[in-house]
């Protein structure tokens, strides 16, 4: 079957269940296409031969009742995978192979899925273009020389290029939604506490969440249903009633109230984005939902707040990479010298920049002015959403202030790079779920996304809205396979 890789996850599952294709066939098909797609540089670690073995084993005694029966898939290289190298896109972990499995990936394998390999990402998930990875930048299948977004750039590129039927990323400030938007795919950042952080290389603990990245909303709902679980090994995991998101998925959103926050009309917003947003509003109305203007007054402060909180936590979370226990070590004259050389050589420039920002904002004399103030503003941002949700069921915004940019275009301008996250970071700061769906193209033909932000634990609602809109939008990704010779 030559068109296996063109199938969505749901189609693939259906075909495997109906024994039209085997897991081995599916696995081989994605591997074959991946082999032809090296130029995209999505893989840090390929685990292809093991994947075929697992697929064969699955086919010998297929359990078709599982939610992901024999489905091959690749995951972001931020998830620790037992006996498979896990790098977080960093030189400092280039030789690190965990002896343990993250809860989220364990949930996936428990439902019958098979690991294809580990996908490229920005180093320690710090970046918006996948250009900070030690393993090089990733090509966006939309066009040559285009970034796939970040930090889950390998993941977004792999899904868009159909090298994996679905994947998981992590989102600390937009790292699922922004790359989804850049590649014409769907990405969900779940409510903080929905997916366990156990076994995920930490960037900023109070913001990090794993989430699905897929070709369509139904697939996204299915994977969310698999990965979301209460986990005692993560103290911030929340024990709430989780839906069968895919089963309960409906396009009936009649009467839902959707808020349009005026503060998201930022200065200098490209007209294309403005128009896309307007189109989104029309789609929502077409679905029978109601549009309300709302205000999230502290939106302007979200980005600076994020760029204090996230680096502060990161500076501490990354202290463990010191060359003592595991990972890269540079020789030194003494302990301090070894630390300095290890961390200077092991971490890339962006990671070092954030460690320094984080160290600075936590230092005595600056703590109150930066970190403490940021925490207060974070509370205000959360309060804004709480207020808004008294009136509306969900909020619609653009996912990003622009479409995908060129590789190298913003690498020397960190602030303009950080601005990519302007619509996504408030959601992380407030711990809310947000989904980006492809909603149109810009004049260059690059995809653009819209973001639906929900109430905490209300993933079902935003999935339903996304599902209803998806039907109206009828987006078609323009993938030309330009990289396949």
């Amino acid at each position: 079957m030559s068109d296996i890789t063109k199938q969505s996850l749901s189609e693939l599952i259906k075909n495997i269940r109906e024994r039209k294709i085997s897991s081995t066939e599916a696995t081989k098909a994605f591997i074959e296409r991946s082999e032809k797609s090296k130029e995209l540089n999505v893989y840090v670690t390929e685990d292809f031969s093991a994947a075929i073995e697992k697929a064969k084993k699955f086919d010998q005694k297929p359990n078709l009742d599982l939610k992901l029966p024999g489905i091959p898939l690749a995951v972001k290289d931020l998830f620790c995978t037992k006996n498979v190298k896990t790098t977080a896109g960093s030189k400092i972990l280039n030789n690190f192979t965990p002896t343990y499995e993250s809860t989220v990936t364990k949930n996936i394998w428990n439902e019958g899925a098979i690991l294809l390999g580990k996908l490229n990402c920005d180093e320690f998930a710090m970046g918006s273009s996948n250009e900070t990875s030690f393993f090089g930048s990733v090509q966006n299948p939309i066009d040559k020389g285009l970034v796939p977004g970040g930090s889950s750039g390998g993941s977004s590129s792999a899904v868009a290029a159909q090298l994996t039927p679905i994947t998981i990323g992590t989102d600390t400030g937009g790292s699922i939604r922004q790359p989804a938007s850049f590649t014409g795919t769907v990405g969900l950042k779940p409510t903080y506490g929905s997916c366990s952080r156990y076994g995920i290389v930490a960037f900023a603990s109070s913001l990090d969440q794993a989430g699905p990245m897929s070709q369509n909303v139904r697939d996204c709902a299915l994977l969310q249903e698999v990965i979301s679980s209460y986990d005692e090994k993560d103290s911030t995991s929340i024990d709430f009633k989780r839906n069968n998101y895919s089963k309960e998925l409906t396009n009936n959103i009649k009467g839902k109230k959707i808020g349009i926050p005026k503060e998201y009309r930022v200065d200098g917003m490209p007209k294309e984005i403005e128009d896309l947003w307007k189109k989104g509003i029309e789609y929502i109305k077409d679905c029978g939902a109601e549009i309300l203007d709302i205000s999230l007054p502290h939106t302007n402060y979200a980005l600076p707040t994020y760029y204090i909180v996230a680096p502060a936590e990161a500076s501490s979370n990354l202290a463990r990479y010191d060359g003592v226990k595991y990972g890269f070590r540079a020789d030194g004259e003494n302990l301090i010298d070894m630390y300095e050389k290890t961390r200077s050589e092991g971490f890339g420039a962006e990671v070092q920049r954030r460690i320094m920002i984080g160290t600075y904002v936590l230092s005595s004399g600056y703590y109150d002015a930066y970190y403490l103030k940021a925490q207060k503003v974070r509370k205000l941002i959360k309060n804004d959403f709480d207020e808004a949700y008294k009136k509306v069921d969900a909020i619609l915004t653009p996912s990003t202030p622009s479409s995908a940019f060129k590789i190298g275009e913003k690498t020397n301008d960190p602030v303009s790079m950080y601005l990519n996250d302007i619509f996504t970071v408030p959601v992380n700061l407030a711990g809310l779920p947000g989904i980006s769906i492809p909603a149109g193209h810009d004049s260059k033909g690059y995809p653009l996304g819209l973001q639906i932000i929900g109430k905490a634990f209300d993933e079902q609602n935003i999935l339903n809205i996304a599902y209803a809109m998806e039907e109206k939008i009828n987006f078609k990704n323009k993938i030309t396979d330009w990289w396949i010779k």
Binding site: Y198, S235, L335
Partner: protein, 487 residues
């Protein structure tokens, strides 16, 4: 030293200096597993055999609070008559060291689990109250071993993540003796509670000692120095003594004291500068985002209160009131939970007064000599009780009892059997005694005459002779009575 015995002062020329001491005691929580992981805390295991993925800070590993350790900390707080904070926060204390795998220690900075409390000390000149500033929970670090290899340092992470309680006193202590009493009392309270075994050899109890001096009568505190990580009471006392004198000398010399962290060199008996205030670490404390604030309910605390045993102060009061012990005796007997248990077991079936004397006197001396703890005593409470009863009912004299006791210390258990086998039973038959006494008088006719003519002092001589002839077994009371009649 001062002339007033109770006051510890340092004299120089015209000035008398008072020493101000505050202690930060690090007490290892008695718990099977670590503060945020399930690895064992057992002492003395092979290096790096009690290290979980969390303790070694592998990527993506997360701390999960051990509820038992929280209970232990709250119990200790209750024992210190302290305020229990229903909401406390775990912070990260960031610094780099080879034996600190996370690159930070999880501790409590702004919001500790226990607030202000107090400890009562029994000093020779009366009671003294020492304020407790706070108690917080934190992780221990691993251990760096520098002397196994000329070039490399080895790291043992068995201790990494073990739960510690840091108990911070107010600067209320004024002498090495008070520090001794304070640490012992703290240790005693925690041992009563079962929250810390107080074993200083195994490092279960260590302290940072803050010392400053000021001219007696001054209100303001002097600049303090912190002596880090002193692991015995004796060393604490020595360090304070040295440090206080060092500071006084500096002041007398017209110099000022630098606020700094110092180390106590036990071999040279001196403190040395470790780092100055300027070099002090900036620990960049901030709330650990991996852990939610720790919240406990009233019911949770009340429930723990109901589990609190009788503590030394209350027990002392009861011993004095119920058993009519002197405060001195009571203080000694309650100082350690094991001692007080032993005492109470002995007096279940025997005389309180005798038991008190025998435990504080003979038993303590004998144990001391053999360097044994009361729990290791060769004489069980039951057997000591039997021995005391043999004295009480006149079967043996106090003097013979000492012989029996010595035998018992050698591991010979039953005092009754010892008395029988060795024929140590006291002679209390009046007829047998009369015969003995007649014989003694007969042999000492001249002295008997002298006695009768008024030299009453000779009575003691006759008692001695009778005892001697009887091999020490004659009942001394009866001997007295009969002798008086006969002479």
């Amino acid at each position: 030293m001062s002339k007033d015995k109770s006051e510890y002062l340092i004299n120089r020329k015209d000035n008398q200096y008072e020493v101000v001491i505050g202690l930060e005691v690090h007490a290892q929580v008695t718990s099977e597993s670590k503060l945020f992981s399930t690895s064992s805390t057992k002492f003395g295991a092979e290096p790096n055999t009690q290290v979980s993925l969390v303790d070694a800070a592998l990527p993506g590993m997360l701390p999960v609070i051990n509820e038992f350790c929280v209970k232990q900390a709250i119990k200790t707080g209750i024992g210190l008559k302290a305020k229990i904070n229903k909401r406390s926060v775990f912070d990260r204390k960031n610094y780099f060291y080879a034996d600190l795998p996370q690159g930070y220690q999880i501790s409590q900075f702004k919001d500790p689990i226990v607030g202000e409390g107090k400890v009562i000390l029994d000093m020779p000149d009366g009671q003294k109250e020492v304020g407790i500033e706070r108690l917080h929970l934190e992780q221990d670090a691993g251990k760096s071993i520098h002397d196994l290899d000329p070039k490399n340092t080895f790291v043992d992470l068995n201790r990494s993540g073990v739960a510690l309680m840091e108990i911070v006193s107010k600067p209320d202590l004024r002498s090495p003796d008070e520090v001794n009493a304070y640490v012992k009392k703290l240790r005693s309270i925690m041992r009563y509670l079962g929250t810390c075994d107080g074993n200083m050899q195994e490092g279960s109890l260590r302290a940072d000692v803050n010392v400053s001096v000021r001219i007696k009568g001054t209100k303001e505190f002097g600049t303090r120095c912190e002596i880090k990580n002193v692991n015995s009471i004796k060393f604490m006392q020595m360090a304070i003594e040295y440090e206080a004198n060092r500071q006084v000398d500096l002041i007398e010399d017209g110099q000022s004291i630098d606020q700094e962290t110092r180390l106590f060199d036990t071999k040279k008996n001196e403190t040395r500068s470790m780092r100055s205030k300027e070099d002090a670490h900036d620990y960049r404390y901030f709330p650990d985002p991996d852990l939610l604030p720790l919240e406990v309910s009233d019911a949770f605390v009340e429930n723990l209160k109901s589990e609190i045993p009788e503590l030394p102060d209350e027990k002392k009061k009861r011993f004095i009131e119920k058993f009519k012990l002197t405060p001195y005796e009571a203080t000694i007997l309650v100082s350690d939970i094991e001692t007080s248990n032993y005492f109470e077991n002995v007096i279940k079936k025997s005389d309180v007064k005798l038991a008190t004397n025998w435990i504080i006197g003979e038993l303590f001396a004998a144990l001391n000599e053999k360097n044994l703890e009361i729990t290791e005593s060769p004489i069980s409470a039951g057997n000591l009780s039997k021995l005391i009863n043999l004295i009480k009912d006149g079967t043996i004299s106090g003097k013979i009892a000492k012989t029996v006791f010595e035998q018992m210390m050698e591991g010979d258990k039953d005092p009754k059997r010892i008395v029988e086998e060795k024929g140590l039973k006291q002679e209390s038959d009046p007829k047998a005694l009369e015969a003995l006494i007649d014989k003694v008088i007969d042999n000492n006719r001249d002295k008997a005459t002298e006695y009768k003519s008024g030299k009453v002092k000779l009575f003691g001589f006759f008692v001695g002779q009778v005892m001697k002839v009887s091999g020490g077994k004659a009942n001394p009371q009866l001997v007295n009575e009969i002798l008086k009649k006969k002479l």
